[in-house]
């Protein structure tokens, strides 16, 4: 999207790096805490494990103002349409971290009520395992995402396939093309 289409010369290359640096250093998460993982997400944003040093302590309630959706917790059948609606309302470029095993794969709740992995509903960029993942794991997932943004790998994949980026290609599910 955007800058990558320009014919590359030295100047646009520098601007592209600047844009990627800016995007990486001010990823604003949307509040999508659902269950126990939400508490660990709050703990990651609080004083002991500070997310502010990554520029991310501002949890935006409105998806229009958010870049990153950390799906923190188990997604029930009733919540799945809400999840998709909030994801659709976010502006590009947007990323999704699936926090916890319930969001990544349904976790220990392999039953009628829980969506077995949010990648059935939204495209996921980074999966953070744990039940709940400790703040260090979540920060590692966030830093992995920052690395993906820094190298431009995420946007490169999106342009190539037209689908939301996923870290593992086998589990790619056909979802609506992001606007």
């Amino acid at each position: 999207m955007g800058l990558e289409d320009l014919n590359h010369n030295f100047l646009t290359g520098r601007i592209e790096d600047l844009v990627k640096w800016a995007r990486r250093n001010s990823v604003w998460p949307a509040t999508f805490g659902l269950a126990c993982c939400a508490i660990e997400m709050m703990a990651t944003g609080a004083a002991h494990f500070d997310l502010a040093r990554f520029g991310m302590e501002v949890f935006r309630a409105s998806p229009r103002q958010a870049d990153l959706m950390i799906v923190a917790g188990r997604v029930s059948q009733k919540m799945a349409p809400v999840l998709r609606q909030v994801y659709d309302q976010m502006m590009e470029p947007k990323w999704v971290i699936s926090m916890g095993v319930c969001a990544s794969s349904g976790g220990m709740f392999n039953n009628y009520a829980i969506v077995q992995g949010v990648d059935q509903v939204v495209p996921v960029d980074v999966y953070a395992p744990g039940c709940p993942p400790g703040p260090e794991t979540l920060m590692h997932a966030i830093l992995t995402l920052h690395e993906l943004i820094r190298t431009g790998e995420i946007t490169r994949r999106r342009r190539a396939t037209g689908v939301g980026a996923g870290v593992s290609t086998e589990r790619r599910v056909a979802v609506a093309t992001p606007r």
Binding site: Q77, K78, G106, N110, N111, Y112
Partner: protein
Amino acid sequence: MTEPDPELPAEEDVPAPPALLHGAPVTASRGQTVVHADPSSYLDVVRALYDDGYGMCVDLCGVDRLLAPAVDLPAGVEPGRFEVVVNLVSIDDRRRVRLRVQVPEVDARVPTLFELHPGTEAMEREVYDFFGIVFDGHPDLSRILMPDDWEGHPLRKDYAVGRIPVQFKGTPPPR
């Protein structure tokens, strides 16, 4: 049947409950008083217990007895497919009592406790959602935890858990 556990209190140590309480037979379960009522006398028994001082209904839930019919019922009480279990508390006397109502499979209806204990509104909706038992007189008997257009009643024993196959995970449970 398992052999009797030597660590349970002996029969003589547990005080015998009265045989009938407001016309409903009474048993004891691990030291807790259990009153058995049928759907027609259920509301009267709860009302009588309310007058006795059991002013708070702390819990109302359902049980599907399809795979394990109740064996601890007193004489004269026919087991039904479902059970509605009500837990009442008397705050002034610090006592608890439990009520078990046998509900048949066909025409599973019981009267609502909403007039007496307004707090049962959400609990009865949950029982309806999960078991399909209808509560007559409830102000708004709709699904509460499942989506409104869900079909089926998930906590019934003939409703599958709904698990998806996972590689290397063991076979489904025997039940």
